[in-house]
């Protein structure tokens, strides 16, 4: 069974909403983020599917394919990887290698996991992730904890979320003070 991995940039107060402007796509211009980019590359290489909510999908579609001379490898990866967007309203995803998942979430995800393959990674996608967490479909959390408190914006774990106890798999510290925490659902 394939793992569904939720990977998020997250503030110290638990916010994953990028709209508050506390991180830039592909790394921040000021700090040396090469070690974070290495970690993301390792993650990409262990995955063969990207699962996204509609909003994140559209944001990525509107940004990454336009990047020229992207040395991070993210643009090429996103263009080529098998993408799955959860949406009941999208007709044409307009991005190569994309499948629209229109059915009931739990069934769609179980179906996706049942096929042979490597990790399925989800990132951003606040609404989708909230649903995945609530449905107990997440196998691993990879949280890049930023050394900031933001005070507003959607959190990864909203009130009344009950998640079974997690097992700490690994921690990794980066030059910029970001810490990666990896947890598996027991």
């Amino acid at each position: 069974m394939r793992d569904l991995v939720v990977t998020e940039n997250i503030t110290l107060d638990g916010v994953i909403d990028a709209a508050e402007g506390w991180f830039a796509p592909g790394g921040d211009g000021e700090d040396d983020q090469s070690d974070v980019l290495d970690a993301l590359r390792e993650q990409r290489e262990a995955a063969d599917a990207l699962l996204l909510g509609r909003v994140t999908f559209e944001q990525m579609r509107g940004y990454w394919p336009l990047q020229e001379n992207d040395t991070t490898g993210i643009t090429d990866y996103l263009n080529m990887v098998a993408k799955y967007v959860v949406s009941s309203t999208m007709d044409d995803p307009a991005w190569e290698h994309t499948t629209v998942l229109r059915g009931a979430l739990i069934e769609e995800i179980r179906e996706l996991k049942s096929h042979q393959g490597a990790d399925i990674v989800t990132t951003g996608s606040m609404t989708l992730v909230s649903d995945l967490v609530g449905a107990g479909l997440v196998d691993e959390y990879r949280l890049f904890v930023y050394p900031v408190v933001i005070g507003r914006g959607q959190r990864l774990f909203t009130d009344q979320t009950e998640v079974p106890k997690l097992r700490l798999e690994a921690t990794r510290r980066f030059r910029s003070g970001i810490v990666l925490l990896r947890y598996r659902s027991d």
Binding site: L12, V145, V148, T161, R173
Partner: protein, 182 residues
Amino acid sequence: MRNLKAWLFVTLDGVMEAPEKWVMFNDEMGASTEADYAASDVLLLGKGTYEVFAASWPERSSDVPNADWMNNTPKLVASTTLKSLDWQNSSLIEGDVAAAVSQLKQEDGKGIIVNGSATLVRSLLRDGLLDELQLFVHPIVLGTGDRLFVEGEDRAALTLADSQAYANGVVSLTYTPAVETE
């Protein structure tokens, strides 16, 4: 200048309320907290945490880790509503807390420790008085309970000073306020 350090037990979703119900405390965490207590001679608390501590620590005998330090060390309580201080060596902070803490830091002495006391910790961070903030992040998502950081909190940029993964799955993250750059 005396060092003001706060540490809290928090869940992965940031809840710090009633840790006695869910805390996972092991020898490694014991060694870390014991070392911090040994380097300090004042315990600064908010009302909520003071009341919980005052109801439990006096009952603990000397063989309980940190019991002697907790009971014998002077406790300063930041509260305008607390009526009685039943725990030995406790006193209320008179007047403005920020001014009192600032004054305390300039006096001679060892470090100052804050445990729990989310509201107090937030105001110390806002006022630039907190030198270190250590979070013992537990591999638990509770869903309800008071959080350390609340909605509408001021933005804060911090610097990671240390991180430790413990054998029981708890992760310690220690932060200092970020240095202002021009």
